[in-house]
Amino acid sequence: MSSVPEIGGQALHPPKPVELQWQSFAHAIDLWNGKLHYYLGLYLLLFIWLFAFSGLMLNHHWTFDDFWSKRKVSTTERAVHPPAHGSDLEKAKDLMRQLHIAGELELGEAPPAAGRLDFQVTTPRLMYALHADLVKGVVTVQRTEVNVWGIIHILHTYSGVRRDNPHMQRTWTGIRIWSFCMDAIALGLIFVVLSSYVMWWGLKQHRFWGLVALFGGYLACGFFVVGLARLYP
């Protein structure tokens, strides 16, 4: 008498160790894919809401978030020790230290006149326009402060670099941290999307309609990314 169990006359062989290992590995991947999907979603929740909401604000001109007309502007003159040496960037940083101003520094694109230095320093809440007379040792500081809507608005685009100006570089630790956050959000969202594909594919009864939804999405998005250029060359 055979020791292998039978169903319908067919012998049931126990899975081989390699098959068992593979099943266990696939199960672990499925499990952790699902866990990471909602762990990442939960961790990034406020960041996603910020970018989603500020994206809507940028594309619409609602009256409640009109922060620019409500900005507070003040101008002061401050005495400084004119930096003797260094590049314009180093001189600007020196003046910022003396004036206790922190933020992302941006020099004017045109070279400054002799004995003068004009630059801007920005944070999401504050914008400083500084006009330094290095001969007299005086800096005119125009300080602009925006409200919470302005901060939300600015955070969406606060990267410190522009593709049309390859010489622009981040100078402030704060903006480097924010730039890192932006990367983390982008990579996190890419992972959440890809992991959702894996989770959906595991739900056999939802494959067809899921495929319809996914195909519709790619068709609509692809129309804008590549279709428009083909349709209107």
Partner: protein, 209 residues
């Protein structure tokens, strides 16, 4: 009561799944283009060569004296004559003529309109798929709101981008509900959510303090 709860759960899960799949290409577009916008050193394949031609056209009288959308409408009349389509970025007066950058995904066009001799010079450049994604990410954007959306596809894209955001908000809300249903994951989820809130508040505080 349990049946109603079960139905709510099933509907929420299904809507989360199907809406998520439908907007996923848009979310990928915004995420990938965000990386390109955040890292300007990443090469995009380089600009295509500029193709240029000059054509005789009938230029609407008084074009250079108009403002805002009225001027854009007249520029559109010129564009129709030469078969150019796209979103007029802005119109700038220059030496008695007008310079008009026209944009659409993966293409940049600049029109030099000369009303004195009824001619227009067209410079056209293909910018590629990555640039198209960045353009769409920033479109329509906050600038020159009075003329923005002067191309029908910009208006449709604005609608699509809005729909993506609203559905993303819906998905995140339903995601929270679906997580709360999983009792075994509540504690760890709460810790991760808390860590996310603290990270967010901390970064914003550092930036704004």
């Amino acid at each position: 009561m349990q049946t109603i709860s079960r139905q709510i759960y099933v509907w929420t899960r299904n809507l989360h799944l199907y809406f998520g799949l439908a907007i996923s290409p848009f979310v990928l577009l915004f995420s990938i283009s965000l990386i390109f916008l955040n890292h300007t050193w990443i090469p995009l394949g380089g600009p295509d060569r500029v193709r240029q031609f000059t054509a005789a056209v009938s230029i609407p009288p008084g074009l250079e004296h108009l403002e805002g959308m009225a001027r854009v409408e007249k520029v559109k009349e010129v564009m129709r004559q030469i078969g150019v389509t796209g979103e007029v970025s802005f119109v700038r007066l220059n030496d008695g003529g007008l310079i008009v950058p026209v944009q659409k995904p993966s293409q940049e066009i600049t029109l030099h309109i000369f009303p004195q001799n009824n001619t227009v010079t067209v410079e056209r450049r293909n910018t590629g798929i990555w640039d198209a994604m960045m353009y769409l990410h920033k479109s329509p954007g906050p600038h020159l709101a009075n003329i923005r959306g002067n191309w029908v596809y910009t208006r449709i894209w604005r609608w699509a981008a809005d729909a993506t955001v609203y559905l993303l908000l819906f998905i995140s809300a339903t995601g929270i509900y679906l997580w709360l249903i999983l009792k075994a994951e509540r504690k760890i989820g709460l810790v991760i959510l808390g860590a996310g809130v603290i990270s967010f508040m901390g970064v914003v505080y550092v930036l704004c303090a």
